[in-house]
Amino acid sequence: MNVLDTMGTALQALAANKLRSSLTMLGIVIGVGAVIALMAVGQGAQQDITHRIRGLGTNLLFIRPAPVETGGGFEGEALTLVDTDAEAIDDPGRFPYVDGVTAQTIIFTAAYSYRGKAVHAPSVGVNPNYEYVREFYVEKGNFITEADVDRKGLVAVFGSRTAEDLFGDKDPVGEVVRLSVGAGRFSISFTFRVIGVMEPKGATSTGDEDQLVLLPLPTMQARIPFLRNPKGLSNIAQITVRLRDRKYMEQAKDDIKQLMLDRHGQEDFFIRSQEDLISTVTDVSQTLTILLGSIAGISLVVGGIGIMNIMLVSVTERTREIGIRKAVGARRRDIMMQFLIEAVTVTLVGGAVGIILGMAAAQAANGRTIGDRELSTLVTPLSVILAFGVSAGVGLFFGIYPAFSASRLNPIEALRHE
């Protein structure tokens, strides 16, 4: 008996019991639909984050201070990186593959006020080559120049969103803004002039790059005393190294690590590439995806048990049919295949409907905001194939016992069965 005939027989049996077949299918539909939809949420998040990181450029290396225990279970960052570290890396003789190096410092919350209106955004102290290294350019006005750096000029370039928040439609270039950091005894405040606005870039892994204010690095270091480390040296939050090509990534990591070890005498820093960030984040979001998928998978198992139950009932009900089939020459494997294909057909059709519903649900959820986060979903071909494969597997797994017991029936007893 060939597979087509067996499938025909199985489909007939399913069609004969439409209500029962579709109720059984429903368990699989819900299970597969949930797997597809929840995995789409996980994978959407992953894609979103990966995109953000890639948005920074993939040939960048980041050097940051190592995390240290600051007591009370809190982690802080060692105040170890200094300007001269960046200068040492920017040595074309020693590191020919380095395309540019920029050091930066950051105050995460600062207030900017202009004509009675105030907004909050991080202040980032940067050098003129920030633009080139980060591939992030000024759109309106000018960027910070060497002259601004040399004279610790009170000038700033606004991120596009911060500019819009503070100035609305008005052109910010040339306006004077007051910056305030800290509170009470530790508060610092000074005014500066806006010289430019950055191009809009969108959110990246290091935060929303449209929501910041860039000032000359020495200005920040001079004006904000807690940006100096205990040795009195100007502290740097991050050194960004741009490489000529991604292929130098591993070599650059090793070389720069050696240089830093020589300079610091200890590993009080860490070096991360874009790819490191991506793989870390991908690991996390993959775990999330698997977790979501597994939770949904439970309902698939429940659906599978439903199928097993119905198939057992069906085998009992059709004992006489099995006897007749055996009498006219069906072998054990013919009977086995018939019931197995019935079970797999239920799960495959259920799986297909579930995939469609899951994709529809993912599509409907895409772009909706939950809390303050925009939900992005992504149905990958892999998850579709996986869902389809798993539903076939569920059919096989839960169908095999009923099919086996059907195939083992004694034909005489089966024929006598009422």
């Binding site: 049919e321 007749i324 009498a327 006219v328 020459g329 054990r332 034909p411 024929l415």
Partner: protein
């Protein structure tokens, strides 16, 4: 050579600690193209004998040869193949599959045999039994006699050498019973099919050429019928 040859065939059922001898060791031969009625009271071992002859059951001891094949030593799958190719069953309760139209009922043995043109063969078998206009009817849309004729079509479609009819008229009225027996007689005479028939009724057994009587699992009588039908030459025991 005999088509059916039983040598010392017995069947013992173990019920709890008690051994029930459904068939005592018996010898039996049936020639090709014979028409044999098996009679006997209930519990005489008729059904057990039919199940063994039909390769649905295996004897506890003894040898069974069908068409020269030592079927008593066959495994389950080979027995299924023997049933499929060499034996056609006709049951008292028709044993048609519910819901399936006549054509597909008759196709069933051919499906398991995996042969092409089976639709055509099935339709021809139904036409031969005068059901040419009923091929798309389901069992519930057919009379008892028509259902039994569908079952006979199913039994003969794979052109078996042996037809086993287990009380084929048991569920039919007298007129229809005779109609069905005429069909079986015709198959025996025109196509030379060997037919074994189990029945309670002498009137029905009279269609056969030979009557075997069973009692308590043993053969109590075996005679040629001096019936209205001529005994075929060369088949006398």
């Amino acid at each position: 050579m005999a088509m059916i040859r039983l040598r010392g065939v017995s069947k013992v059922y173990q019920i709890g600690s008690m051994a029930v001898h459904a068939l005592r060791p018996l010898d039996l031969e049936v020639e090709r193209s014979d028409f044999v009625a098996i009679m006997g009271p209930s519990g005489s071992g008729k059904s057990t004998l039919m199940n063994i002859l039909g390769c649905l059951d295996k004897p506890t001891s003894g040898l069974y040869e069908l068409d020269g094949l030592p079927v008593s030593s066959f495994g389950e799958d080979r027995l299924a193949e023997v049933r499929n190719r060499r034996i056609g069953f006709v049951f008292q309760s028709f044993n048609l599959l519910p819901r399936l139209p006549a054509l597909q009922q008759v196709e069933l043995p051919l499906i398991y045999r995996g042969i092409p043109r089976r639709r055509e063969l099935a339709a021809r078998a139904l036409m031969e039994l005068g059901l040419g206009d009923r091929i798309h009817h389901r069992p519930t849309e057919l009379s008892g006699g028509q259902q039994q004729r569908v079952a006979i079509a199913r039994a003969l479609v794979s052109n078996p050498s042996l037809i086993l009819a287990d009380e084929p008229t048991g569920a039919l009225d007298t007129a229809t019973s005779h109609e069905i027996m005429e069909v079986l007689s015709r198959l025996n005479q025109e196509r030379g099919m060997t037919i074994l028939l189990v029945t309670h009724e002498t009137e029905i057994a009279a269609y056969a050429h030979r009557t075997i009587r069973l009692r308590d699992g043993a053969i109590a009588g075996d005679e040629r019928n001096g019936s209205r039908r001529p005994v075929r030459l060369g088949t006398s025991p």
